[in-house]
Amino acid sequence: MMPFAVLLVLSFLGSIIPAVVLNLDRKQLLWTGIGGMLGYGLAVLLSGSTSPGLMPVFAGAVLVGLYSEGMARIRKTPAISFCIPGIFPLVPGIDAYKTMQFLVNGDLGNAATTGIRTVAIAFAIAFGIMLVTSFYRIGKDKVGS
């Protein structure tokens, strides 16, 4: 495994560089990168692996969610600006791709295993973020409804 510091730098860059492709306001780039670094850093610390499993990814997603909601209030910009690039290093893209590769090769057993893992991790990320968002919104006036 790479040194932890290198992973942190890579995940920092891995959040801000895709954020440029997603046309994020330049003033928010640095803060987005820190969010991505924190989330991935926590997941790697908890799992001890560069492709973290279910619970570490969930913990990372909760951290990214907390960070995004906090930053959204400080920087006066929607939380989505921080959490979309922030979860980039956590998203199980490699698993999703492996699943389809197995399917295309006709290896259904492995496809099922990695497929379930992919969906579970995607759910863990989404649920982690939603959990934080819901807590932040409790008590806040909902417009119109």
């Binding site: 910009t77 979309i84 791709y97 590769q101 295309v104 090769n105 759910f123």
Partner: protein, 252 residues
């Protein structure tokens, strides 16, 4: 102030949000908030492919629909519309002023193409290393990333067949990753390929779809997840065919 103009402002704001990849609930809330800002009871129903808005005001009930054909991600646009909708709510901007602001946001330039392409390629390189590749793997992924970003220029944003671009990207990535790894030794073609394709993998779309589902926007959620799965599938088919061209029969 009549219902029609208010609906136009609300619909345009909703359309820009949806085109920029905002969550379904944000689009609905923004439309309702803008309606409330102008003193109307507003109801919005948003799908990834269209927006329905109905308002009840002095002039009776009016309903309008807007179709959305293409969606990308533009986070700066989401932030600006969000700020505008809050201004409308608290400072009661005139309809003309709101429409002018929306037009300005719509016309605002995104990052220059060279910068987007450079970042597109850099992302490929970084993720190849993050996935456990060597520096050479990262460099090769970067090269394939540059080739893929050229495809983004060849295929116009709104050609109506987005999956064609995804298939072509998979094809190119599969072919060149295998080629580069084959020409040298000690490089993992698999890591180069996944790094190069990381930009195109719909991980974020998948997560957004699940967020919609968890929020209770079932139709939008299932649609987004379906779209994400379909594009992974097409990407993988493209990559498999691309590498097959190199090694006849080696993969299937």
């Amino acid at each position: 102030m009549n219902n029609d103009e208010i609906i136009q402002v609300a619909l345009t704001a909703g359309e820009l949000l949806l085109r920029s990849g905002a969550e379904t609930y944000r689009v609905e809330e923004t439309i309702v908030r803008i309606g409330a800002g102008y003193g109307l009871l507003c109801e919005a129903f948003v799908l990834p492919t269209g927006i329905f808005v109905s308002v009840r005001g002095a002039g009776g009930i009016s309903t309008a629909l807007r179709r959305i054909h293409s969606r990308t991600v533009n986070l700066s646009c989401i932030a600006q519309i969000n700020a505008l909708s809050r201004e409308i709510e608290t400072q009661h901007l005139t309809l003309k002023a709101s429409m002018a602001r929306l037009d300005a946001i719509r016309k605002e330039k995104t990052n220059p193409l060279w910068l987007i392409s450079a970042c597109f390629a850099l992302t490929a390189g970084i993720y190849a290393v993050l996935f456990g590749g060597t520096l050479t793997d990262g460099l090769f992924a970067l090269v394939v990333g540059v080739l893929l970003s050229l495809l983004r220029i060849v295929f116009p944003k709104t050609n109506g067949y987005p999956f064609l671009e995804i298939f072509a990207s998979g094809l190119m990535a599969g072919f060149f990753s295998m080629l580069l790894a084959d020409m040298t030794s000690g490089n993992n073609s698999y890591i180069i390929l996944t790094g190069a394709l990381i930009n195109l993998l719909p991980g974020v779309a998948l997560v957004n779809g699940i967020r919609d589902l968890l929020k209770g926007d079932n139709v939008s959620g299932m649609t987004r997840i379906g779209e994400a799965l379909l594009s992974v599938f097409i990407l993988a088919c493209g990559a498999a065919i691309g590498s097959l061209v190199l090694f006849k029969g080696g993969l299937l």
